[in-house]
Protein backbone atom coordinates (compact mmCIF):
# COMPACT_ATOMS: atom_id res chain seq x y z
CA UNK A 1 0.00 0.00 0.00
CA UNK A 2 1.24 3.47 -0.91
CA UNK A 3 0.86 5.77 2.09
CA UNK A 4 1.06 8.79 -0.23
CA UNK A 5 -2.21 7.76 -1.87
CA UNK A 6 -3.91 7.59 1.49
CA UNK A 7 -2.45 10.47 3.45
CA UNK A 8 -2.36 12.93 0.56
CA UNK A 9 -2.29 16.68 1.08
CA UNK A 10 -6.05 17.19 0.78
CA UNK A 11 -6.81 14.50 3.36
CA UNK A 12 -4.14 15.55 5.85
CA UNK A 13 -5.14 19.22 5.62
CA UNK A 14 -8.84 18.51 5.89
CA UNK A 15 -8.35 16.10 8.80
CA UNK A 16 -6.99 18.99 10.86
CA UNK A 17 -9.13 21.79 9.46
CA UNK A 18 -11.56 23.38 11.88
CA UNK A 19 -13.69 25.09 9.21
CA UNK A 20 -16.58 22.61 9.32
CA UNK A 21 -15.99 21.45 12.87
CA UNK A 22 -18.70 23.29 14.74
CA UNK A 23 -22.23 23.07 16.05
CA UNK A 24 -25.01 24.43 13.82
CA UNK A 25 -27.25 27.10 15.27
CA UNK A 26 -30.95 26.38 14.71
CA UNK A 27 -30.13 22.94 13.33
CA UNK A 28 -33.17 21.22 11.84
CA UNK A 29 -31.63 17.74 12.06
CA UNK A 30 -28.75 16.02 13.77
CA UNK A 31 -27.52 12.46 14.01
CA UNK A 32 -24.70 10.64 15.76
CA UNK A 33 -22.67 8.19 13.70
CA UNK A 34 -20.57 5.58 15.50
CA UNK A 35 -18.13 2.90 14.40
CA UNK A 36 -18.51 0.49 17.32
CA UNK A 37 -15.40 -1.49 16.42
CA UNK A 38 -13.05 1.49 16.61
CA UNK A 39 -14.89 4.11 18.62
CA UNK A 40 -15.01 6.76 15.89
CA UNK A 41 -17.91 8.98 16.79
CA UNK A 42 -19.25 12.02 14.95
CA UNK A 43 -22.32 14.17 15.39
CA UNK A 44 -23.53 15.71 12.16
CA UNK A 45 -25.88 18.70 12.28
CA UNK A 46 -27.74 20.28 9.37
CA UNK A 47 -30.00 23.26 8.89
CA UNK A 48 -32.27 22.57 5.96
CA UNK A 49 -34.59 25.35 4.75
CA UNK A 50 -36.89 24.99 1.78
CA UNK A 51 -35.09 21.86 0.66
CA UNK A 52 -31.66 23.54 0.68
CA UNK A 53 -28.82 22.60 3.07
CA UNK A 54 -28.17 26.08 4.42
CA UNK A 55 -25.65 25.08 7.10
CA UNK A 56 -23.84 21.95 8.19
CA UNK A 57 -21.20 21.09 10.77
CA UNK A 58 -19.76 18.16 12.68
CA UNK A 59 -18.29 17.48 16.10
CA UNK A 60 -16.74 14.36 17.59
CA UNK A 61 -13.62 12.22 17.49
CA UNK A 62 -12.10 10.04 14.87
CA UNK A 63 -9.15 9.18 12.71
CA UNK A 64 -7.74 11.42 9.96
CA UNK A 65 -9.78 9.58 7.35
CA UNK A 66 -13.17 9.95 9.04
CA UNK A 67 -12.46 13.57 10.02
CA UNK A 68 -11.23 14.56 6.56
CA UNK A 69 -14.17 12.75 5.00
CA UNK A 70 -16.64 14.65 7.20
CA UNK A 71 -15.03 17.97 6.38
CA UNK A 72 -14.92 17.29 2.63
CA UNK A 73 -18.51 16.08 2.66
CA UNK A 74 -19.72 19.27 4.31
CA UNK A 75 -17.79 21.42 1.81
CA UNK A 76 -19.56 19.52 -0.92
CA UNK A 77 -23.16 19.61 0.30
CA UNK A 78 -23.31 23.16 1.71
CA UNK A 79 -25.86 25.24 -0.17
CA UNK A 80 -27.06 22.28 -2.24
CA UNK A 81 -30.62 20.95 -2.53
CA UNK A 82 -31.27 17.77 -0.53
CA UNK A 83 -31.86 15.72 -3.72
CA UNK A 84 -28.48 16.72 -5.08
CA UNK A 85 -26.79 15.88 -1.78
CA UNK A 86 -28.38 12.45 -1.96
CA UNK A 87 -27.03 11.93 -5.47
CA UNK A 88 -23.52 12.99 -4.38
CA UNK A 89 -23.78 10.67 -1.43
CA UNK A 90 -24.52 7.72 -3.70
CA UNK A 91 -21.66 8.70 -6.00
CA UNK A 92 -19.26 8.86 -3.04
CA UNK A 93 -20.33 5.48 -1.66
CA UNK A 94 -20.08 4.05 -5.19
CA UNK A 95 -16.52 5.36 -5.46
CA UNK A 96 -15.47 3.84 -2.13
CA UNK A 97 -17.07 0.49 -2.99
CA UNK A 98 -15.16 0.59 -6.27
CA UNK A 99 -18.41 0.49 -8.26
CA UNK A 100 -18.06 3.94 -9.82
CA UNK A 101 -14.76 4.78 -11.50
CA UNK A 102 -16.02 6.98 -14.35
CA UNK A 103 -13.98 10.15 -13.94
CA UNK A 104 -16.64 12.50 -15.31
CA UNK A 105 -19.09 11.21 -12.73
CA UNK A 106 -16.51 11.38 -9.91
CA UNK A 107 -15.69 14.99 -10.75
CA UNK A 108 -18.94 16.03 -9.06
CA UNK A 109 -17.33 14.98 -5.77
CA UNK A 110 -14.79 17.80 -6.09
CA UNK A 111 -12.05 17.46 -3.40
CA UNK A 112 -13.76 14.45 -1.84
CA UNK A 113 -12.27 12.50 -4.75
CA UNK A 114 -9.06 12.55 -2.67
CA UNK A 115 -10.56 9.67 -0.67
CA UNK A 116 -10.67 7.39 -3.72
CA UNK A 117 -7.56 5.50 -2.54
CA UNK A 118 -9.56 4.10 0.40
CA UNK A 119 -11.45 1.83 -2.01
CA UNK A 120 -8.32 -0.37 -2.01
CA UNK A 121 -8.10 -0.47 1.79
CA UNK A 122 -10.86 -2.65 3.24
CA UNK A 123 -9.58 -1.96 6.77
CA UNK A 124 -10.29 1.77 6.46
CA UNK A 125 -13.45 1.89 4.33
CA UNK A 126 -15.67 2.21 7.39
CA UNK A 127 -13.72 5.31 8.47
CA UNK A 128 -14.32 7.07 5.14
CA UNK A 129 -18.02 6.25 4.89
CA UNK A 130 -19.00 7.05 8.51
CA UNK A 131 -19.95 10.73 7.89
CA UNK A 132 -21.73 9.85 4.65
CA UNK A 133 -23.76 7.07 6.27
CA UNK A 134 -24.67 9.53 9.00
CA UNK A 135 -25.80 12.02 6.36
CA UNK A 136 -27.80 9.29 4.68
CA UNK A 137 -29.51 8.57 8.01
CA UNK A 138 -30.53 12.23 8.33
CA UNK A 139 -31.72 12.63 4.76
CA UNK A 140 -33.67 9.36 4.76
CA UNK A 141 -35.36 10.43 7.96
CA UNK A 142 -36.26 13.77 6.39
CA UNK A 143 -37.71 12.03 3.38
CA UNK A 144 -39.89 9.85 5.59
CA UNK A 145 -41.10 12.95 7.47
CA UNK A 146 -42.09 14.66 4.24
CA UNK A 147 -44.14 11.73 2.97
Amino acid sequence: MELNALYNQIIVENSRSSQNRHKVSDATASLEGVNPSCGDDIILELRVENGIIEDAGFTGEGCAISQASASLMIDLILGKPVEEAQKLLQTFLGMIKGEISDEEQLEFLEDAIALKGISHMPGRVKCAVLPWHTLMGILDEKETENK
Partner: protein, 406 residues
Protein backbone atom coordinates in the same frame (compact mmCIF):
# COMPACT_ATOMS: atom_id res chain seq x y z
CA UNK B 1 16.01 -17.12 18.48
CA UNK B 2 16.15 -18.26 14.89
CA UNK B 3 15.15 -21.75 15.95
CA UNK B 4 12.07 -20.33 17.71
CA UNK B 5 11.10 -18.22 14.69
CA UNK B 6 11.52 -21.24 12.40
CA UNK B 7 8.73 -22.96 14.31
CA UNK B 8 6.18 -20.32 13.23
CA UNK B 9 5.60 -20.62 9.47
CA UNK B 10 3.47 -17.45 9.25
CA UNK B 11 6.53 -15.35 10.20
CA UNK B 12 8.22 -16.18 6.91
CA UNK B 13 5.34 -14.80 4.79
CA UNK B 14 6.01 -11.14 3.80
CA UNK B 15 3.37 -8.54 4.69
CA UNK B 16 2.95 -5.54 2.34
CA UNK B 17 6.18 -6.68 0.73
CA UNK B 18 8.00 -6.30 4.05
CA UNK B 19 9.16 -8.67 6.75
CA UNK B 20 6.17 -9.19 9.04
CA UNK B 21 6.59 -7.64 12.49
CA UNK B 22 3.70 -8.95 14.48
CA UNK B 23 3.02 -6.94 17.63
CA UNK B 24 -0.62 -7.87 18.19
CA UNK B 25 0.00 -10.94 20.30
CA UNK B 26 -2.40 -9.80 23.01
CA UNK B 27 -5.16 -10.23 20.40
CA UNK B 28 -3.94 -13.65 19.31
CA UNK B 29 -0.59 -15.37 18.95
CA UNK B 30 0.77 -17.40 16.08
CA UNK B 31 0.89 -21.19 16.30
CA UNK B 32 4.08 -23.27 16.11
CA UNK B 33 4.47 -26.29 13.83
CA UNK B 34 4.00 -28.74 16.69
CA UNK B 35 0.56 -27.29 17.42
CA UNK B 36 -0.46 -27.32 13.76
CA UNK B 37 0.71 -30.93 13.55
CA UNK B 38 -1.15 -32.00 16.69
CA UNK B 39 -4.43 -30.65 15.30
CA UNK B 40 -3.76 -32.15 11.88
CA UNK B 41 -2.79 -35.53 13.35
CA UNK B 42 -5.94 -35.66 15.43
CA UNK B 43 -8.23 -35.22 12.44
CA UNK B 44 -6.09 -37.46 10.23
CA UNK B 45 -5.69 -40.37 12.61
CA UNK B 46 -7.70 -40.12 15.80
CA UNK B 47 -11.01 -38.44 14.90
CA UNK B 48 -13.97 -39.87 16.82
CA UNK B 49 -16.49 -38.54 19.32
CA UNK B 50 -14.99 -38.89 22.80
CA UNK B 51 -16.94 -40.69 25.55
CA UNK B 52 -19.19 -42.38 22.96
CA UNK B 53 -17.62 -45.16 20.93
CA UNK B 54 -16.59 -48.46 22.50
CA UNK B 55 -14.43 -49.08 19.46
CA UNK B 56 -10.66 -48.54 19.61
CA UNK B 57 -10.71 -45.28 17.66
CA UNK B 58 -13.29 -43.84 20.05
CA UNK B 59 -11.16 -44.84 23.01
CA UNK B 60 -8.14 -43.15 21.42
CA UNK B 61 -10.06 -39.94 20.92
CA UNK B 62 -11.27 -40.04 24.53
CA UNK B 63 -7.68 -40.53 25.68
CA UNK B 64 -6.54 -37.46 23.73
CA UNK B 65 -9.41 -35.45 25.25
CA UNK B 66 -8.62 -36.55 28.81
CA UNK B 67 -4.84 -36.36 28.38
CA UNK B 68 -5.21 -32.77 27.21
CA UNK B 69 -7.17 -32.11 30.39
CA UNK B 70 -4.34 -33.55 32.46
CA UNK B 71 -1.79 -31.45 30.57
CA UNK B 72 -3.87 -28.30 31.13
CA UNK B 73 -4.27 -29.24 34.82
CA UNK B 74 -0.50 -29.62 35.30
CA UNK B 75 0.02 -26.31 33.47
CA UNK B 76 -1.92 -24.37 36.11
CA UNK B 77 -1.27 -26.78 39.02
CA UNK B 78 -4.89 -28.00 39.32
CA UNK B 79 -6.53 -31.43 39.41
CA UNK B 80 -7.92 -32.70 36.09
CA UNK B 81 -11.49 -32.70 37.42
CA UNK B 82 -11.13 -28.96 38.06
CA UNK B 83 -10.41 -28.27 34.38
CA UNK B 84 -13.33 -27.51 32.06
CA UNK B 85 -12.72 -27.03 28.36
CA UNK B 86 -14.54 -24.06 26.86
CA UNK B 87 -14.19 -22.31 23.53
CA UNK B 88 -12.21 -19.42 25.05
CA UNK B 89 -11.79 -17.25 28.15
CA UNK B 90 -15.03 -15.44 27.31
CA UNK B 91 -17.07 -18.63 27.49
CA UNK B 92 -15.23 -19.67 30.65
CA UNK B 93 -16.11 -16.34 32.34
CA UNK B 94 -19.70 -16.59 31.15
CA UNK B 95 -19.88 -20.07 32.62
CA UNK B 96 -18.92 -18.68 36.03
CA UNK B 97 -21.29 -15.73 35.61
CA UNK B 98 -24.27 -17.92 34.75
CA UNK B 99 -23.65 -21.05 36.85
CA UNK B 100 -22.17 -19.32 39.89
CA UNK B 101 -23.13 -15.63 39.72
CA UNK B 102 -26.76 -16.03 38.68
CA UNK B 103 -27.17 -18.91 41.14
CA UNK B 104 -25.52 -17.64 44.30
CA UNK B 105 -25.66 -13.84 44.22
CA UNK B 106 -28.54 -11.98 45.85
CA UNK B 107 -29.96 -8.49 46.03
CA UNK B 108 -27.63 -6.18 47.94
CA UNK B 109 -24.55 -8.30 47.22
CA UNK B 110 -21.62 -6.62 45.52
CA UNK B 111 -19.61 -7.82 42.55
CA UNK B 112 -16.23 -6.14 42.41
CA UNK B 113 -14.30 -5.75 39.16
CA UNK B 114 -11.68 -3.32 37.89
CA UNK B 115 -12.38 -0.54 35.41
CA UNK B 116 -9.58 -2.05 33.31
CA UNK B 117 -11.45 -5.30 32.66
CA UNK B 118 -11.82 -6.67 29.17
CA UNK B 119 -15.50 -6.60 28.13
CA UNK B 120 -15.57 -10.40 28.56
CA UNK B 121 -14.97 -9.96 32.29
CA UNK B 122 -17.35 -7.01 32.55
CA UNK B 123 -20.49 -7.43 30.45
CA UNK B 124 -21.34 -10.86 31.99
CA UNK B 125 -21.19 -9.26 35.46
CA UNK B 126 -23.46 -6.43 34.34
CA UNK B 127 -25.95 -9.12 33.36
CA UNK B 128 -25.57 -10.94 36.68
CA UNK B 129 -25.98 -7.67 38.59
CA UNK B 130 -29.12 -6.77 36.65
CA UNK B 131 -30.62 -10.22 37.01
CA UNK B 132 -29.86 -10.77 40.70
CA UNK B 133 -30.20 -7.20 41.98
CA UNK B 134 -26.59 -7.20 43.09
CA UNK B 135 -24.39 -4.16 42.57
CA UNK B 136 -21.42 -3.89 40.22
CA UNK B 137 -18.61 -1.97 41.97
CA UNK B 138 -15.38 -0.84 40.32
CA UNK B 139 -11.75 -0.73 41.40
CA UNK B 140 -9.77 2.14 39.85
CA UNK B 141 -6.04 1.88 39.22
CA UNK B 142 -3.64 4.77 39.81
CA UNK B 143 -1.70 6.47 36.99
CA UNK B 144 0.89 3.66 37.14
CA UNK B 145 -1.85 1.13 36.39
CA UNK B 146 -1.67 -0.38 39.87
CA UNK B 147 -4.56 -0.85 42.27
CA UNK B 148 -3.55 0.38 45.70
CA UNK B 149 -4.14 -1.29 49.07
CA UNK B 150 -6.29 1.71 50.09
CA UNK B 151 -8.50 1.18 47.06
CA UNK B 152 -8.91 -2.49 47.98
CA UNK B 153 -9.70 -1.57 51.60
CA UNK B 154 -12.37 0.85 50.42
CA UNK B 155 -14.03 -1.48 47.96
CA UNK B 156 -13.85 -4.93 49.58
CA UNK B 157 -16.38 -5.27 52.39
CA UNK B 158 -18.80 -7.84 53.86
CA UNK B 159 -21.24 -7.24 50.97
CA UNK B 160 -18.57 -8.22 48.41
CA UNK B 161 -19.53 -11.73 47.27
CA UNK B 162 -17.49 -12.00 44.10
CA UNK B 163 -14.32 -10.35 42.80
CA UNK B 164 -13.52 -10.81 39.11
CA UNK B 165 -10.26 -9.36 37.88
CA UNK B 166 -7.73 -9.69 35.09
CA UNK B 167 -4.48 -11.29 36.21
CA UNK B 168 -2.78 -8.94 33.73
CA UNK B 169 -4.57 -6.03 32.04
CA UNK B 170 -4.78 -6.45 28.27
CA UNK B 171 -4.26 -2.69 27.87
CA UNK B 172 -1.92 -1.62 30.68
CA UNK B 173 0.01 -4.88 31.01
CA UNK B 174 0.00 -4.53 34.81
CA UNK B 175 -0.39 -7.50 37.13
CA UNK B 176 -3.28 -7.29 39.59
CA UNK B 177 -2.41 -7.44 43.32
CA UNK B 178 -3.79 -10.97 43.66
CA UNK B 179 -2.33 -11.72 47.11
CA UNK B 180 -3.87 -8.58 48.59
CA UNK B 181 -7.21 -9.31 46.93
CA UNK B 182 -7.28 -12.94 48.09
CA UNK B 183 -6.44 -11.95 51.68
CA UNK B 184 -9.42 -9.58 51.83
CA UNK B 185 -11.72 -11.89 49.87
CA UNK B 186 -11.07 -14.74 52.33
CA UNK B 187 -11.86 -12.44 55.24
CA UNK B 188 -15.34 -11.79 53.81
CA UNK B 189 -15.92 -15.11 52.07
CA UNK B 190 -16.03 -13.65 48.55
CA UNK B 191 -15.24 -15.81 45.51
CA UNK B 192 -12.33 -14.68 43.31
CA UNK B 193 -12.43 -15.13 39.53
CA UNK B 194 -9.17 -14.54 37.69
CA UNK B 195 -9.11 -13.70 33.98
CA UNK B 196 -5.75 -15.08 32.87
CA UNK B 197 -6.22 -14.50 29.14
CA UNK B 198 -3.41 -11.95 29.02
CA UNK B 199 -1.09 -13.45 31.64
CA UNK B 200 -1.00 -17.11 30.69
CA UNK B 201 1.59 -16.80 27.89
CA UNK B 202 3.86 -14.44 29.86
CA UNK B 203 4.09 -15.85 33.40
CA UNK B 204 3.36 -19.07 35.26
CA UNK B 205 -0.22 -19.35 36.50
CA UNK B 206 -0.39 -21.55 39.61
CA UNK B 207 -3.99 -21.57 40.79
CA UNK B 208 -3.11 -23.20 44.11
CA UNK B 209 -0.41 -20.69 44.92
CA UNK B 210 -2.62 -17.79 43.76
CA UNK B 211 -5.48 -19.21 45.80
CA UNK B 212 -8.21 -18.15 43.37
CA UNK B 213 -11.57 -19.90 43.07
CA UNK B 214 -11.85 -19.70 39.30
CA UNK B 215 -9.38 -18.93 36.52
CA UNK B 216 -10.09 -18.55 32.82
CA UNK B 217 -7.84 -18.47 29.78
CA UNK B 218 -7.91 -18.83 26.01
CA UNK B 219 -5.65 -21.15 24.07
CA UNK B 220 -5.24 -18.86 21.08
CA UNK B 221 -3.25 -16.23 22.98
CA UNK B 222 -0.75 -18.90 24.13
CA UNK B 223 0.23 -20.52 20.80
CA UNK B 224 -2.77 -22.89 20.69
CA UNK B 225 -5.62 -22.83 18.13
CA UNK B 226 -8.60 -20.50 18.28
CA UNK B 227 -11.76 -22.02 19.72
CA UNK B 228 -10.26 -23.74 22.76
CA UNK B 229 -10.14 -22.30 26.26
CA UNK B 230 -10.03 -23.42 29.86
CA UNK B 231 -11.92 -22.72 33.03
CA UNK B 232 -10.33 -23.80 36.27
CA UNK B 233 -12.76 -24.03 39.18
CA UNK B 234 -12.28 -25.29 42.72
CA UNK B 235 -13.87 -28.72 42.93
CA UNK B 236 -16.09 -27.89 45.90
CA UNK B 237 -17.51 -24.87 44.06
CA UNK B 238 -18.00 -26.66 40.74
CA UNK B 239 -19.77 -29.51 42.58
CA UNK B 240 -22.53 -27.21 43.80
CA UNK B 241 -22.99 -25.30 40.54
CA UNK B 242 -25.80 -26.08 38.08
CA UNK B 243 -24.96 -26.74 34.40
CA UNK B 244 -24.24 -23.90 31.99
CA UNK B 245 -25.12 -25.36 28.60
CA UNK B 246 -27.28 -28.49 28.46
CA UNK B 247 -27.31 -31.36 26.01
CA UNK B 248 -25.37 -34.48 25.19
CA UNK B 249 -22.57 -35.80 27.37
CA UNK B 250 -23.31 -33.53 30.36
CA UNK B 251 -26.00 -35.82 31.78
CA UNK B 252 -26.14 -38.88 34.01
CA UNK B 253 -29.64 -39.89 32.89
CA UNK B 254 -32.52 -38.24 31.03
CA UNK B 255 -36.25 -38.91 31.38
CA UNK B 256 -39.24 -37.17 29.83
CA UNK B 257 -39.55 -34.55 32.56
CA UNK B 258 -36.32 -34.70 34.50
CA UNK B 259 -32.59 -35.24 34.09
CA UNK B 260 -29.67 -35.78 36.37
CA UNK B 261 -26.31 -34.40 35.47
CA UNK B 262 -22.86 -35.83 35.07
CA UNK B 263 -20.15 -35.23 37.63
CA UNK B 264 -17.80 -32.30 37.11
CA UNK B 265 -16.08 -31.47 34.85
CA UNK B 266 -18.34 -33.23 32.30
CA UNK B 267 -21.41 -31.47 33.69
CA UNK B 268 -20.05 -28.32 32.11
CA UNK B 269 -19.01 -29.82 28.79
CA UNK B 270 -22.21 -30.25 26.77
CA UNK B 271 -22.15 -31.47 23.20
CA UNK B 272 -19.28 -32.68 21.06
CA UNK B 273 -16.07 -31.10 22.21
CA UNK B 274 -13.30 -29.39 20.25
CA UNK B 275 -10.89 -32.29 20.67
CA UNK B 276 -8.67 -31.12 17.82
CA UNK B 277 -8.33 -27.80 19.67
CA UNK B 278 -7.62 -29.63 22.93
CA UNK B 279 -4.85 -31.61 21.21
CA UNK B 280 -3.49 -28.29 19.93
CA UNK B 281 -3.68 -26.75 23.40
CA UNK B 282 -1.77 -29.67 24.92
CA UNK B 283 0.88 -29.32 22.20
CA UNK B 284 1.12 -25.57 22.89
CA UNK B 285 1.66 -26.22 26.61
CA UNK B 286 4.33 -28.79 25.78
CA UNK B 287 5.91 -26.28 23.40
CA UNK B 288 6.03 -23.61 26.12
CA UNK B 289 7.40 -26.15 28.61
CA UNK B 290 10.14 -27.07 26.15
CA UNK B 291 11.26 -23.43 26.02
CA UNK B 292 10.82 -22.86 29.74
CA UNK B 293 9.55 -19.91 31.76
CA UNK B 294 12.97 -18.53 32.50
CA UNK B 295 13.82 -18.18 28.80
CA UNK B 296 10.38 -16.80 27.95
CA UNK B 297 10.41 -14.24 30.74
CA UNK B 298 14.01 -13.09 30.24
CA UNK B 299 13.50 -12.64 26.51
CA UNK B 300 10.14 -10.89 26.80
CA UNK B 301 11.31 -8.62 29.58
CA UNK B 302 14.27 -7.49 27.48
CA UNK B 303 11.91 -6.62 24.61
CA UNK B 304 9.51 -4.76 26.90
CA UNK B 305 12.41 -2.82 28.37
CA UNK B 306 13.72 -1.88 24.92
CA UNK B 307 10.23 -0.85 23.70
CA UNK B 308 9.35 1.15 26.78
CA UNK B 309 12.70 2.98 26.86
CA UNK B 310 12.31 3.77 23.15
CA UNK B 311 8.77 5.07 23.59
CA UNK B 312 9.67 7.13 26.65
CA UNK B 313 12.45 8.77 24.62
CA UNK B 314 10.00 10.02 21.97
CA UNK B 315 8.61 13.38 23.18
CA UNK B 316 5.29 13.14 21.33
CA UNK B 317 4.28 9.73 22.72
CA UNK B 318 2.00 9.23 25.72
CA UNK B 319 2.36 5.80 27.32
CA UNK B 320 -0.59 4.64 29.45
CA UNK B 321 0.19 2.96 32.76
CA UNK B 322 3.54 2.20 34.32
CA UNK B 323 6.75 3.45 32.73
CA UNK B 324 8.69 0.68 34.52
CA UNK B 325 9.15 -2.32 32.24
CA UNK B 326 9.07 -4.69 35.23
CA UNK B 327 5.36 -3.81 35.55
CA UNK B 328 4.74 -4.69 31.91
CA UNK B 329 3.73 -8.18 30.98
CA UNK B 330 3.84 -8.27 27.21
CA UNK B 331 1.74 -5.17 26.55
CA UNK B 332 2.31 -1.44 26.03
CA UNK B 333 -0.46 0.98 25.07
CA UNK B 334 0.21 4.51 23.89
CA UNK B 335 -0.83 7.35 21.63
CA UNK B 336 1.05 9.69 19.29
CA UNK B 337 0.16 13.34 20.02
CA UNK B 338 -2.29 14.70 17.47
CA UNK B 339 -2.56 11.43 15.58
CA UNK B 340 -5.51 9.08 15.82
CA UNK B 341 -4.52 5.48 16.74
CA UNK B 342 -5.95 4.15 13.48
CA UNK B 343 -3.71 6.39 11.44
CA UNK B 344 -0.72 5.36 13.53
CA UNK B 345 -1.60 1.70 12.94
CA UNK B 346 -2.05 2.22 9.19
CA UNK B 347 1.32 3.96 8.89
CA UNK B 348 3.01 1.14 10.86
CA UNK B 349 1.20 -1.42 8.69
CA UNK B 350 2.78 0.08 5.58
CA UNK B 351 6.10 -1.14 7.00
CA UNK B 352 4.73 -4.61 7.79
CA UNK B 353 4.18 -3.83 11.48
CA UNK B 354 0.93 -5.16 12.94
CA UNK B 355 -0.32 -3.35 16.05
CA UNK B 356 -3.80 -2.98 17.43
CA UNK B 357 -5.61 0.36 17.42
CA UNK B 358 -8.93 0.89 19.11
CA UNK B 359 -10.50 0.40 22.51
CA UNK B 360 -9.14 -3.14 23.00
CA UNK B 361 -12.51 -4.36 24.29
CA UNK B 362 -11.97 -2.13 27.34
CA UNK B 363 -14.19 0.90 26.73
CA UNK B 364 -14.72 1.77 30.42
CA UNK B 365 -10.92 1.93 30.80
CA UNK B 366 -10.67 4.23 27.77
CA UNK B 367 -13.29 6.49 29.37
CA UNK B 368 -11.40 6.39 32.66
CA UNK B 369 -8.17 7.34 30.88
CA UNK B 370 -10.04 10.11 29.06
CA UNK B 371 -9.26 8.77 25.60
CA UNK B 372 -11.41 7.23 22.89
CA UNK B 373 -8.85 4.68 21.87
CA UNK B 374 -5.13 3.95 21.79
CA UNK B 375 -2.44 1.96 20.04
CA UNK B 376 -1.29 -1.30 21.60
CA UNK B 377 1.93 -3.18 20.91
CA UNK B 378 2.12 -6.65 22.43
CA UNK B 379 4.86 -9.24 22.16
CA UNK B 380 5.42 -12.99 22.14
CA UNK B 381 8.46 -15.27 22.33
CA UNK B 382 9.18 -15.01 18.59
CA UNK B 383 9.57 -11.21 18.54
CA UNK B 384 13.09 -9.88 18.25
CA UNK B 385 15.13 -6.86 19.19
CA UNK B 386 15.05 -5.94 15.48
CA UNK B 387 11.23 -6.03 15.52
CA UNK B 388 11.19 -3.46 18.31
CA UNK B 389 13.84 -1.28 16.62
CA UNK B 390 11.90 -1.16 13.34
CA UNK B 391 8.70 -0.45 15.27
CA UNK B 392 10.31 2.46 17.14
CA UNK B 393 11.94 3.88 14.01
CA UNK B 394 8.70 3.75 12.02
CA UNK B 395 6.85 5.34 14.91
CA UNK B 396 9.29 8.23 14.58
CA UNK B 397 7.88 8.92 11.10
CA UNK B 398 4.18 8.90 12.01
CA UNK B 399 3.79 12.59 12.77
CA UNK B 400 5.57 13.61 9.58
CA UNK B 401 3.03 11.63 7.53
CA UNK B 402 0.23 13.42 9.30
CA UNK B 403 1.55 16.85 8.37
CA UNK B 404 3.42 17.70 11.57
CA UNK B 405 7.00 18.97 11.46
CA UNK B 406 8.26 16.11 13.61
Amino acid sequence: MKSIRDQFPILSVPENGKRLIYLDNAATSFKPLSVLKAVDDYYRMDNANPHRGVYTLGVRSTDIHENARMTAARFVNASPEEIIFTQNATEALNLVAYSYGMEFLREGDEILISVAEHHSNLVPWQRVAKHTGSRLVYLYPGPDGRITEEELDQKINPRTRLIAIAHVSNVLGTEAPIKSIIKRARLHGAAVVLDCAQSVSHMPVDVKELGVDFAAFSGHKMYAPMGIGVLYGKKELLDKMPPFLCGGDMIASVHEQTSSYAEVPRRFEAGTRNVGGEAGLAAAIEYMNSIGWETIRTHEHALMDQALKGLNALPYITVYGSTDSRDRHGVISFNVDGVHPHDTATILDSEGIAVRAGHHCAQPLMEYLGIGSCVRASIAIYNTEEDISVFLNTLGQVRRWMGYGA
